[in-house]
Amino acid sequence: MVSRKHFVGVCALLVIHNAAAQSSSSSMFGLVTDQNGAPLGDVPIRAVNDATDTDARVFTSTSGSYELEGLPAGEYVVTISAPCCALQDYSNDSLMLEPNQAFELNIQLLEGGSLNVLGDDPGTIAAELRNRQIIPDLPVPRTEYGTPDISGIWLINRDPFPEAPKALPWAEAISEERIANGQANHPHNRCLPNEPPRYGGGTPFITKFIQAPELVVFLFEDVPGFRQIFLDDRDHPEVPNPSWMGHSIGRWEGDTLVVNTVGFTTRGWTYTYPRTEMMRLEERYTRVEYGRMDVRVTIDDPGVFEEPLVRNFRFDFAPQEKLIEYMCENNKWYPDDAE
């Protein structure tokens, strides 16, 4: 077995759709630190210029440095969706890049909502777990019935470059109110599930996948504990019982497990947004290498969003970890649990 630490390079993904008309001679570079000045590695930075269809993305190095080269001149929106939740997000709505300019942008991220409380921060604990895994240098394992095998313990990480949801005005107003209230009434604060695909298995907790030919089971540490995806060609019930996990059916499309879910209760939150009975979910699971799975999630709720909300997740294989029981039995801040 070969020990391979998780490596984050500084290779930038630069997407320019209109390159022929632009000179791509500018760049952006700098250091990302926390509010104490300590450098932050593995932080995602995105620079977008709509006029040139530029969408540049990079992760900071272990020393906190980053560089985005080959950018067309213009006005950029620079954002950091920091790994939740020790750090606040960052947004600069109007950074002007002149032609042939190298713009030094050093960013200091403020403390986030977890307040660095001991043992609490999902991103911090995820990094600790990720970095101690021993991942064999092997190809993606396959089942005897010919599909990839996605069984095992996985760390569910958040999308580092989340697209901003395009919500209908009523839903956006609710989201803003919830954010202004510090998300105090988020279901998870009342021992109820998070949004897909995390539910109860996002870091700092873990999820165990158990795969059989006709069924995949997710075991979450946190509520609700389990989720079933039926692969036996059944249909959804005609009248699904509204539930927190919904009713999931799946199929293999080549090496990708495609899952469709309907029947969500409207009591759940989609991030900070509300839900309607129209919500449908598609997940696409592809184990791209032994230690990593790419998961593309599409939340289609036309009662809430103008267009389907798409998020891209990376799951890390975590064979060194084990499930630990979680009973939400001592919730001191919301003891009544009444909605």
Partner: protein, 130 residues
């Protein structure tokens, strides 16, 4: 160094633009980072349970009644993964807690560090993991 083209270098120390807290975690909704606190006292009770570990300390001060303070940490699951367990703290131990106060004015806080009189810190990451 970059060669081959003119370069205008503009240095901008950009302090973080305070974006809305999209993150779900609600410690900030309940505790106030603008009210740091440091207290030393004797452990009276430990609640090693989910969703969050709590422990309580008695604080003696001369001339006043003993105060009992409660402190909240993360889930036992994360602490166990860091190598700690339900016996890492014991009733009767003296600890120094650095944290932030509850917004509601109660004698409660959220924990940033827990230190023994020896200087040993508890519940943090025990391995070099970054």
């Amino acid at each position: 160094m970059r060669l081959g083209f003119l370069r205008g270098l503009v240095s901008a120390i950009a302090l973080a633009y305070v974006a809305p807290i999209i993150a779900h975690h609600s410690f900030m909704a309940v505790f106030d980072p603008e009210q740091p606190i440091e207290l030393t006292g004797t452990i009276t009770e430990i609640e090693w349970m989910n969703p969050h570990v709590w422990f309580y300390i008695d604080i003696e001060s001369e001339g006043s009644a003993t105060e009992n303070w409660g402190f909240e940490m993360g889930s036992p699951n994360g602490l166990i993964r860091r190598g700690w367990n339900h016996k890492s703290l014991e009733v009767g131990q003296v600890v120094t807690v650095i944290g932030v106060l509850a917004r509601d004015g109660s004698q409660r806080g959220a924990v940033r560090t827990v230190t023994l009189p020896t200087g040993e810190s508890l519940f943090g990451a025990q391995n070099d993991s970054r």
